[in-house]
Amino acid sequence: MSMNFLTKKAAAAALLLAFNISASEFEYSGKIGIEERYFFAGGQYEEQFEHWQTSFSVEPEFTWNWNDGVDSLVFTPFYRFDAQDEQRTHGDIRELFYIHVGDDWEFRAGIRKEFWGVTEFQHLVDVINQTDGVEGFDGEDKLGQQMLNLSLVRDWGIIDLYLLPGFRERTFPGEEGRLRGPLVVDKNNVSYESSAEDKHIDFAARWSHVLGDFDIGSYWFHGTNRDPLLTPAQNGQTLVLRQYYNQMDQLGIDVQATIDDWLWKFESIYRSTKAEDFGAVQAGFEYTYVGVFDSFTDLGLLMEYGWDSRGEAGASAGANVQNDLFLGSRIAFNDMQDSEVLMGFSTDLDHNAFSILVEASRRFGDSFKANLDFRMLQSSEYTDQLYSLKDDDHLQVSLDWYF
């Protein structure tokens, strides 16, 4: 668990504040989970474990409220123990922040998570938090980001200003871990374009607004690129990947039009770094058919397309999503147990590569939730990124207890 100086300082200040609170409301909740993965094929690379991966996780949440909810403090630590992958045994402070609510403004300070965007299959514009790459394969798990955030509510929209002191490195599977390429990412060989390294202070400003059926957001981000450039390097006798984080300026826009049963979604970024400038788009729709076959079940149909001006990722750096089509369906049974099934199919139109995803979940009793995930990753072309994961098809079962 890495915590830099600023984080420690923020944590100390926040805790001090917490102990000074009199007549505050304290609440806790959270979940404890067990997860089992089964990989149908043995590891493609030598050190990888063979089939079974067992892990346990815990994520409590503590909240304090005072001044009638005007001030509050939230603390959400997280820890996962993984029996097979040493790197997946990891902890993080997902959240530790103070929030003050004014009439038409909010001030938030500490470690937080912030999500931006509207699409489902790729989160292009979501840029504040680093991906917790070892936690989940879909990139939706994020590491906490230290920040000062002022949010101003105006008639013409909500303005959010962010000062982000310090940077989090992405997490990657270790030597024994599955769902990785032939080379392991070296977490001790990290370099930065900025001389401030991981102490660089990033900045972001976002405007978001609702105009009738349209929800619109746009932002500018200046700071450390969350996506590392991975290049092969020697670590003693073994070849590894070293991480390089450059500086970037990024302009992002996200729009959703909610018209009748249709959600039309559009996300686009323009990123500028010293090495290259590029643009990318993810766009599509979600259509919900309410009450199929005279039942209470809702059927959602999703289609998205992803494009990137860099073109396909080959030997040189390119994009993984450059001419990709995504199809999905979401079935919500609307029953007492909130049973749900999500199916997704994605294919790279430039390569013979595709992946299939099925996620099902259901509640048991009042406090248990079971998830069943299936992932298939196929490619017949050596140059495609998915080729390096072609033996990593797996089934995952998890059970969480909520308290």
Binding site: T258, R363, D366
Partner: protein
């Protein structure tokens, strides 16, 4: 406030009277009796709305108990804040506390009298605010026998009316009014509503599905008066006649005119609902 309420009544009555006049011209067959039933149904419903105006904002805790045919129960714990809007549907923020796996999830709704409601959902696990389609009004709310539509605020413009007569139940006099949803996406062809003649409170609603057969009955139990003015039922019981399931809502800690403002009903408020 009172004056505005009265003015609104006059306006609505005039507008709807004008509307019924123009449609009278089209359907020449409408008899005086039918016209009177329409007028009276409207007048009663306008009075229901007016007697319950001026509450400004409200806060309440709701316990939702789901029961299936076998008698198995599942409980949801919900907090609801509402903001009264003059000349439009109300705004509401619904926060889920139980089941525990959805704790912190929240639902923001701007209901409208004539156009579709604006609705957003907040998913705490992803920290994501998602605008959702409000056409899904006939779908069940949280797996219960209440639909999204049943939770939307009552606005006079959402229905056309027909007065069916008076009925005496347990020594109490009721108006019986038929209400026909204007929105074609409604899950109902009509509702039959029992309104007591003294306080103009809704005591019972029969819901008829799209095939015009009786689907559900909602009963309001144990009305309490708050702030010396506003009546709210302590319990609301919805029985689904077609699937044998039922849902009971138990309301606690009602407060009115808390000084809530627009700022408590925007997308930022949606995110700070833990």
């Amino acid at each position: 406030m009172l004056y505005q309420g009265r003015l609104k009544t006059v306006l609505i009555t005039t507008l709807l009277a004008a509307a019924s006049l123009s449609s009278f011209a089209v359907s020449q067959q409408e008899t005086d009796q039918e016209k009177n039933a329409r007028r009276k149904g409207l007048d009663i419903s306008v009075e229901v709305k007016n007697r319950d105006s001026g509450w400004g904002d409200s806060k309440a805790d709701m316990l939702m108990i789901l029961r299936n045919e076998q008698g198995q129960e599942s409980v949801r714990e919900i907090k609801i804040k509402s903001l009264e809007q003059l000349g439009d549907g109300d705004k509401s923020l619904t926060v889920f506390n139980k089941p525990k796996d959805v704790k912190g999830s929240a639902f923001l709704s701007y209901s409208h009298a004539e156009k579709a409601d604006d609705q957003w959902l907040y998913l705490p696990s992803l920290k994501r605010v998602k605008r959702i389609s409000s056409r899904n009004k006939s779908g069940p709310f949280m797996g219960s026998e209440f639909s999204f539509e049943d939770f939307s605020s009552f606005e006079v413009e959402k229905y056309s009316y027909k007065y069916l007569g008076n009925e005496k139940i347990a020594a109490k006099d009721f108006f019986k009014v038929e209400q026909f949803p204007v929105d074609e996406n409604s899950g109902y062809t009509r509702r039959v509503v029992w309104i007591d003649q003294q306080e103009y409170l809704v005591h019972k609603i029969d819901y008829y599905d799209r095939k015009n057969s009786l689907l559900k009955t909602l009963t309001y139990v144990d009305y309490q008066q708050y702030s010396g003015k506003f009546w709210r039922a302590r319990s609301m019981q919805m029985i689904n006649h077609q699937n044998g399931k039922s849902t009971e809502l138990i309301w606690n800690n009602y407060t009115f005119n808390n000084g809530l403002s627009e700022g408590d009903f925007n997308r930022n408020a949606l995110k700070r609902t833990r």
